[in-house]
């Protein structure tokens, strides 16, 4: 035991030196890298630096299977500024066309939240440049935890679209955005799933009061399947057809990759600090 303790005395000196290096140099190197990645990510959300209105991007939405629904959505930062949706109803070969009203924009809350979380993370890091001296490992851990919390939330916001019930979709402001108003037997929902912008259209028909099917309102879901029922006003409705079209937004893909990379970077830094945990926890540097 005595020899073990003597050996550790020399070891401890080396470890302390190493830890000092970690706190004073390595942490800043990692933070710089992290900041660069996050800046890059927030640029994707056209967040900082760029003054004036965000540029508009057009996305053509389609599905690999049928071409019953086609949509052209225009994304301006976190808002949908224009939308053109064509729906072909095979039954009577009717082609329906809807567009956003000129004066209206639809905020994609998922993008907005993700953007805000990233900017929070960036802000947490802004005043921790080389001039700032970390004094304890715990301080770094706390900072990393705070940053990781924001990044995880940002990522989760994009990866988990809200699960809505059909009445919620019907009540949403999106249905009132269109210029020829949507017919009452159509519902529209727009959301982000991972790196994709998704548009779903639900065709509805009323449930016959005397039908043999027993009425069971559907719960919340990202994508409802045909046969889902709900009550809207005094009417009982059932989804007859579901059309889902989507389009990859390249910069969302980048952002997600950046989130994952920076989360790993944060974790690695935490792990490095933790290696020394038995030293820093009792002594401040």
């Amino acid at each position: 035991m005595a020899t073990a303790m003597a050996a550790t005395a020399a070891e401890r000196a080396v470890l302390e030196e190493e830890f000092r290096w970690l706190l004073h140099d390595e942490v800043h190197a990692v933070l710089r890298q992290l900041q660069d990645i996050l800046k890059e990510a927030s640029l994707r959300f056209t967040l900082s630096g760029t003054e004036g209105p965000a540029k508009q991007e057009n996305f053509i939405l389609g599905s690999c299977g049928t071409d019953q629904v086609k949509g052209v959505l225009t994304l301006q930062g976190d808002a949908l500024s224009q939308a053109d949706v064509n729906l072909k109803i095979p039954r009577n070969n009717q082609l329906l066309h809807f567009a956003f009203r000129e004066d209206k924009q639809w905020k994609l809350q998922q993008i907005q939240d993700a953007r805000n979380h990233v900017s929070q993370a960036v802000y947490l890091l802004t005043n921790r440049d080389e001039g700032y001296q970390f004094r304890t490992g715990a301080e770094v851990l706390k900072l990393m935890d705070a940053v990781m919390l924001q990044l995880t939330r940002a990522r989760n916001r994009l990866t988990t679209p809200a699960t809505l019930t059909l009445p919620e979709i019907a009540a949403s402001g999106l249905t009132r955005m269109f210029a020829p108003a949507l017919p009452s037997d159509l519902l529209v929902n727009v959301y982000i799933n991972l790196n994709k912008l998704c548009l779903t259209m639900y065709q509805l028909h009323p449930v016959q009061p005397n039908s043999s099917k027993n009425f069971r309102p559907a719960g919340g879901a990202v994508l409802h399947s045909p046969g889902a029922m709900f009550e809207w006003g005094s009417q009982r409705l059932e989804v007859s057809h579901v059309h889902k079209v989507e389009c990859v937004i390249p910069w969302l893909n980048d952002a997600l990759v950046f989130f994952t990379v920076s989360l790993q970077l944060c974790q690695q830094l935490k792990d490095k600090i933790s290696v020394f945990s038995s030293y820093w926890s009792y002594r401040a540097f």
Partner: protein, 1103 residues
């Protein structure tokens, strides 16, 4: 923490970390409230001389605190609201540290503003909140329910800061907010109250982009009613409130970030930065417009520019730790100060007293305002080191040359009353917990040192990071086994009785962060297995019986957050911090699946549904995930509530105090570890109720005053259980409800004789409950454990009394207590703990006793809770007929017999007081469906008549059960206590006052006649004497019973025996018990219990 628990904290010399994230000073300038990253709130006393002293630490949040705010008109109710990272909100009464209301909403707040408009609003007002969601949320300040939102029609976004503008000129309140993108929005407040209450949408009146990002603060100048100060991180701006035209922009120096600001006076502002500096500016007008007040804002526009008057900065010698949270308190009333305050992440509070008229130096250069006070928690600990005892301080060989050895992990084994501590140097100490506590707290405690049965296990060479006592989780395992893991990922299986190493596992991974055991239903080759989580994110499975390591799972990229078991498929499911899931096959050790995102979540939730119990020590974590789950469910239900809180920081966020719930037995030690540090402390828990029950082992009789409340207590519990049950059911509809139902009823179990009757679980984790229940049913060795108990019980009771009694008021009284009650004097004041409900409680900090002004002078007094106690105590003595002392005392010379009787009597009284002070909520609320009795019910409905209620209720219990007598002696007692309750006397004050009065009363007899008999009850003899006394107790008991039947209801302690009644009462008890197996021992309650008591006493005689 159940409310009948009395807690005493042994803090140790190191203060727990408190990284301040939010700070405020209450309106009376007497309390500073801080919120920490660790999730606790701290109340600091602020003296009129601006001295700070930490008073108590409030536990209840499981995540970092994001903001604090006033929650009521402070002069009426001293309430403060706190919000945490994970959506929890609590309202605290800062005068006594009680949690008044709590809620968990799927919102994370940046800031909260209290708004109340007395003449247009009913209720307690609103909390206007902004945070990680669009627009402004309105939350009811009383119920914490969401009332409505202030919606924005133009570019809705997160709001970063806000302020309420009361304009005297236009008699209208407005809400000014700035969004994260720098959009200024204005809502009418007072005129939209009605629309909000009718749930109509209220949109903003104005919206304007301020062209800057990261807005920190917005403030309206109430003196000129004209200027608007907006602080961004890189600049601050002054606007004209009339038309929002920009008057001035001041950019920050490079590397400096503004954090906030406030208006000091007309044209005088203070701005502070993230690194703890502040600057006071005079906003100067040019000479042109000084005399003529410009009607047009544009004229003013060119005329304003700032002149730096003063500055403040933090101590230079200390490296500041970013970021600072600062605030400014502007009080114009006389006794108050203008205070600038800051809190640091390191836990330091700094105050500056800002002069009424700040001026620059004569040469015009800015003057530096000196720091008035600065303080940290550690300062409190250093100053009052007599109070910061540690339970391990008195272990022999514990101190080496450089000071005490740091305890890095500890576990308490209730069945053996052993505390096992792992230390930084690799040693493991095993000690008798009660003795260690006594040695730490009491004077002459060092005398007890010899009686220690202390063991030291040597085998680790690195600090011991984790301990597990498997028998405590599953009775199948050997009682002698203990598992410890160290920093070097070495896990040792010990025999704690022989102190031998049975096996040493070298895992070659990171430090062992936790040791868990698989649930009952997960077995491999018939045995449960140990799961060892290491900080290098690996997980190892150990088979103790086979002395083998089954599996080492090393693929995880992120820290392990959750461990689940799949007994059917033999899978180990590992949930990581990045929400990914790894599924390992236990038999083969192969990675079966790796999933991320939505699917991972489904897998984890799936396991919830299949009722896989989570391992023991993850319980607080588990309950937190549960909360988060609720949040998620709610948030997903609607688009507007779209915040999905990350399931991120689960293990770390829970300061494991929540564990207190699973406490069983009358005495327990709860080791607490704090986040981000290895500093831990211990909490001693005394269950007053349980203690009284154990020491009064006769059947519950309705004639006894204390026990008449017993019935109501059962009902109350039943009710609360029902409530809880519905709550849980509401929460997890999908979960297997019959099981949860079954287990939720458990708290109703009330069996005065049972040792383990306190295995009442209130936590939400069904799995563990089931787990424990199995254990308890198998783990019944009532007789053997009871045998040990009598001594321990009395010792426990004495320790509790020592801790509760105010010492040093009267030398003679102290001595009498020591002589006749055989209790020891405290070394210093103890840090008591108070529970407001299951998971919200407060712990006093060292030095709390000096917080009260009036107590400051007198250092001979130890442990007096407040001066009020003395008054109350005198009142108590005056109000009660002078019968207590004499009737109780069997005036013989057998000190120890009398002593234990007295102790039981005192405890009983305390318990009664405790119940009474805490009861009114149920009675007064009138919602108690359990009380179907009309007579009570009717009276309950008149509020303000509580005294009557109590006594009538009391009457009722008696009459309803054909009891003819009302104990006259107890009525004044009840009245008095209920009266105290109405005057909102704190529980502790009441308890201490009653204890003091009773002790005085009791010892009066001794004071009158000097003690003739030699005082034999000295320390050394205390124990053996007690043993001798025990046989006699049997006699006295019967004797007492006899004499009592002759003259019933004479004393509160008298054990009135009405067999029929007691039987029926007991029958009720058994009916209340859903779980028959717990009953094993007492089939025919009344007699057997008594009998078992005698048996126990007899066995004591043998030893």
């Amino acid at each position: 923490m159940r409310s009948s628990l009395q807690a005493v904290t042994l803090w140790g010399i190191k203060a727990p970390p408190h990284s301040i994230t939010a700070i405020m000073i209450t309106d009376d300038q007497q309390t500073i409230v801080t919120g920490s990253q660790e999730g606790q709130l701290c109340l600091w006393n602020l003296s009129p001389e601006l001295n700070i002293s930490a008073n108590e630490l409030l536990f209840g949040h499981s995540a970092s605190i994001t903001c604090l705010a006033r929650a009521r008109d402070f002069s009426k109710q001293p309430y403060v609201v706190s919000a945490a990272e994970n959506g929890e909100m609590c309202i605290w009464n800062v005068s006594n540290g009680q949690c008044v209301e709590k809620a968990t909403l799927p919102y994370r707040h940046f800031a909260i503003c209290y708004y109340h408009c007395s003449f247009r609003m009913t209720g307690e007002g609103w909390l206007l909140c902004c945070g990680e969601y669009q627009d402004v949320l309105i939350i009811d300040a009383k119920t914490l329910a969401v009332v409505h939102t202030f919606a924005s029609s133009q570019s809705p976004d997160w709001i970063h800061c806000m302020c309420i503008v009361h304009s005297v000129r236009i008699q209208e309140d407005s809400l000014l907010v700035v969004s994260v993108t720098g959009e200024l929005k204005v809502w009418d407040l007072s005129s939209s109250i009605n629309s909000i209450q009718e749930k109509q949408d209220v949109y903003e009146k104005e919206s304007k982009s301020l062209d800057s990002l990261n807005c920190q603060t917005i403030r309206f100048c109430p003196y000129t009613e004209r200027l608007l100060l907006v602080v961004f991180s890189k600049c601050w701006k002054v606007y004209d409130y009339c038309d929002f035209s920009l008057l001035w922009t001041e950019a920050s120096r490079s590397g400096v970030f503004f954090a906030g600001g406030e208006v000091l006076a007309a044209h005088r502002i203070i701005i502070w930065t993230e690194d703890g500096h502040s600057y006071i500016y005079q906003l100067l007008n040019s000479g042109l417009s000084k005399s003529i007040y410009p009607a047009d804002g544009r004229v003013l526009k060119e005329t304003i520019y700032p002149h730096l008057l003063c500055s403040t900065s933090v101590q230079e010698n200390k490296e500041p730790s970013l970021p600072f949270v600062m605030g400014y308190m502007n009080e114009r009333k006389e006794p108050f100060y203008k205070i600038l305050f800051s809190g640091e992440i390191s836990g330091r509070i700094t105050l500056w007293h800002i002069p009424d008229v700040p001026v620059s130096k004569f040469d015009g250069s800015p003057r530096e305002i000196p720091i008035s006070t600065t303080w940290t928690l550690q300062d409190n600990f250093d100053k009052h080191h007599t109070m910061s005892q540690n339970i391990t301080d008195h272990l022999s060989g514990f101190k080496d040359g450089s000071g005490t050895v740091v305890v890095t992990s500890s576990v308490y084994v209730p069945s053996l009353d052993k505390l096992i501590c792992g230390c930084e140097d690799g040693r493991i100490f095993i000690t008798q917990a009660l003795n260690a506590a006594k040695a730490g707290l009491l004077e002459n405690g060092s005398l007890l040192k010899d009686s220690f049965s202390q063991k030291v296990l040597k085998g680790h060479y690195q600090s011991v990071t984790s301990l597990l006592y498997p028998h405590g989780l599953s009775s199948k395992l050997d009682q002698s086994w203990m598992v410890s893991g160290d920093w070097d990922s070495c896990v040792i299986l010990w025999d704690i009785f022989t102190e031998k190493v049975l096996h040493k596992f070298c895992l070659e991974a990171g430090p062992v962060t936790s040791l868990l055991m698989s649930p009952e239903n997960f077995r491999l080759r018939g045995d449960q297995i140990i799961c060892c989580v290491c900080s290098d994110h690996s997980v190892a499975l150990l088979h103790l019986e086979g002395r083998s390591c089954l599996l080492q799972a090393r693929k995880h990229l992120f820290p392990v957050r959750r461990i689940k078991w799949h007994p059917v498929e033999n899978f180990l499911i590992v949930g990581c911090a990045d929400d990914s899931v790894y599924i390992w096959e236990v038999e083969t050790g192969t990675l079966e699946r790796h999933e991320t995102g939505e699917r991972a979540r489904i897998i984890l939730n799936c396991c919830d549904d299949s009722q896989l119990p989570k391992p023991e020590s993850v319980r607080p974590v588990a309950s937190e995930t549960h909360k988060l789950k609720i949040v998620e469910q709610r948030s997903s239900s609607s688009y507007q509530l779209g915040q999905i809180p990350s399931v991120g920081l689960q293990v770390e966020t829970s300061c494991k105090v929540a564990d207190a719930k699973c406490f069983s037995g009358p005495f327990s030690v709860l080791p607490v570890k704090t986040k981000w540090s290895s500093i831990g402390f211990h909490i001693l828990l005394f269950d007053l109720e349980n203690l009284v029950e154990l020491l009064l082992p006769t059947p519950i009789c309705d004639g006894d005053s204390s026990n008449s409340f017993y019935g109501s207590e059962i009902l109350r519990r039943a009710k609360s259980t029902v409530e809880k049950k519905t709550l849980t059911l509401k929460r997890n509809k999908t979960a297997c409800s019959p099981l949860s139902g079954e287990t939720e009823v458990r708290p109703v179990i009330e069996n005065p004789v049972q040792e383990d009757n306190a295995i009442k679980f209130t936590e939400e984790n069904d799995g563990i409950k089931r787990h424990k229940k199995m254990k308890s049913s198998k783990n019944m060795h009532p007789k053997s454990s009871r045998k040990v108990d009598t001594n321990i019980m009395i010792d426990t009771a004495k320790l509790l009394l020592s801790c509760l009694l105010p010492w040093g008021l009267d030398k003679e009284l102290d001595n009498l207590c020591i002589k006749h009650l055989n209790i020891l004097k405290l070394q210093g004041p103890v840090s008591l703990g108070f529970a407001s409900n299951e998971d919200h409680f407060s712990l006093k900090l060292p030095g709390w006793d000096l917080c009260n002004d009036d107590l400051k002078k007198d250092y001979t007094r130890v442990n007096l809770f407040s001066r009020k106690v003395l008054d109350l105590s005198n009142k108590y003595t005056a109000a009660l007929p002078n019968q207590g002392g004499t009737s109780r005392g069997l005036e013989n010379n057998c000190d120890s017999l009398q002593e234990s009787n007295t102790i039981v009597y005192l405890l009983n009284r305390l318990f009664l007081v405790h119940k009474l002070v805490n009861m009114p909520l149920e009675l007064a609320s009138g919602t108690d469906s359990s009380f179907k009795m009309d007579s009570v019910h009717n009276k309950v409905k008149n509020p303000g008549n509580d005294i009557l209620n109590i006594s009538s209720f009391y009457d009722y219990l008696r009459n309803g059960k054909n009891e003819s007598h009302v104990p006259v002696a107890d009525l004044p007692f009840l009245k008095l206590i209920s009266c105290w309750r109405d005057q909102s006397v704190q529980t502790m004050e009441a308890i201490q006052a009653v204890l003091l009065a009773e002790v005085r009363e009791h010892l009066k007899t001794f004071r009158k006649m000097p003690v003739k008999s030699p005082v034999t009850s000295t320390l050394e003899q205390g124990n053996c004497e007690l043993m001798q006394a025990l046989p006699k107790m049997e006699d006295t008991e019967q004797l007492e019973l006899q004499c009592v039947t002759n003259k019933p209801l004479q004393t509160p302690v008298s054990l009135v025996k009405h067999d029929s009644n007691s039987n029926s009462a007991n029958f009720q008890d058994t009916e209340d018990m859903p779980d028959r197996c717990v009953l094993e021992e007492s089939e025919s309650p009344g007699k057997t219990r008594h009998h078992s008591w005698i048996v126990k006493v007899c066995s004591c005689r043998v030893c």
